[in-house]
Symmetry: C3
Subunit: 134 residues, 3 copies
Amino acid sequence: MKSETIEVQTGHEARIIDLTAQVSGFCAGEGDGLVSVFVPHATAGVAILETGAGSDRDVLDAIDELLPRDPKRWHHEHGTPGHGRDHVLPAFISPSITVPVINGILQLGTWQSIVLVDTNIDNPFRTIRLSFIS
Amino acid sequence: MKSETIEVQTGHEARIIDLTAQVSGFCAGEGDGLVSVFVPHATAGVAILETGAGSDRDVLDAIDELLPRDPKRWHHEHGTPGHGRDHVLPAFISPSITVPVINGILQLGTWQSIVLVDTNIDNPFRTIRLSFIS
Amino acid sequence: MKSETIEVQTGHEARIIDLTAQVSGFCAGEGDGLVSVFVPHATAGVAILETGAGSDRDVLDAIDELLPRDPKRWHHEHGTPGHGRDHVLPAFISPSITVPVINGILQLGTWQSIVLVDTNIDNPFRTIRLSFIS
C-alpha cells in the first residue's frame, strides 16, 4: 500500500473543500485498486458530491438544520459554542471513504467530486490521509 | 483487482433496488477480499439494509422528512423541482461501500441486503461499479 | 486477507461501544493495509467518533431526534415497539467502514475511536467482522 498525508487549509468557517485534484494526482501512475480517503480528525467527514452548482451550500445548510449548532443541544462542551455538534457530524458523514481506481484513474462519475466536509471553525488546518491499495 | 460495471433500471420514482444477487454473482469464484460497490452518480447512494419487511419504504420516508424535496429549500436548481435534494443525499448515504468476502461469499448478515438508494426521478438508469480486491 | 469475527455484549439499551482496542489488537503485527470493520446485522452501524466527552450520548440523542422510536412512524413492525427505527439507522450510519493501517498501527487521529452504534434493544450480543487486506 502506498500512503501519504496532505494538509488542507479550511479556515475559521464551515467549509466543503474539493479534494479531487489531490486524490487524482495521488493515484496517477498507479494501476487498478482502491483509494482510501481518510480524515484523522473527530469533527470532519469525507463525502462525494457535485460541487459548484449550489449543493455545497445545500449540504452545509442541511447539516445546520439536522444537527444545529445550538450549544444547549449537546453534552460535549469543549471549544467554540456549538462545537459539540461538530463531534456528532462524523457519525452521519463518515471520515472514511474508498473510491475505485482503474489504470491510475479515479472512477468517479461526471458530476462527482471527493470533498472534505468540515464544520469545525476552531481548527483552520486539516490533515487527510490518502492510501492506495492494489 | 477485478472490476466491472452493471446497469440498473430505476425508473421515474424514488427507489431502493436490491443489488445483492448481482454483487454476490460478481464475487462467486473469487477468494478472500473486499468488494467495493460504488455508484458513479451524484444523486444516489449505496446502503446495507433489510429489505422486504417495510424498511425500504421507511428509509425513503425518512429521507423525505429529513431532506424534503421542497425546491425552495435548496440552492441547486437543475432538473425536476426537488432535484436539489437528491444532490444532498450522497452526503448522508454515501455512494461507496465495501463488504468483506470469504471464499467468494459475501459476509452479509442474515437480514442484510446491499441496495441502491436512488431518489432521483429524472434518470431512469443507473450504473454501478463492482470491484473485488484480494 | 486475514479475517475474523468478534462478539460484543451490547445489552438491552441503545449503546455506543468502543471497538478500538479490539481492532488495534487485530492489526498489530500486520504491515500496511486497510482494515475493514463490518457489522453483519441489519440494525446497527459502525462510526468513528470521539468517545468519553459526551459525544457518545449526543450521537444517540441525535439519532432519537432524527429517527424517532415512535412505532407509528415506521412500516417495519417486528420486535419491540420502535424497532422499525433501528432498521432505518444503517442507511445513515453504515455497517461498514475502512481504516488505513501503517506498520500494523491504526492511523486514527488523536480523538478518534472506532465504535459500534447499536440502538437495537432486542439483541444483547453483536458480531463484528474484522478484515485486514494489504
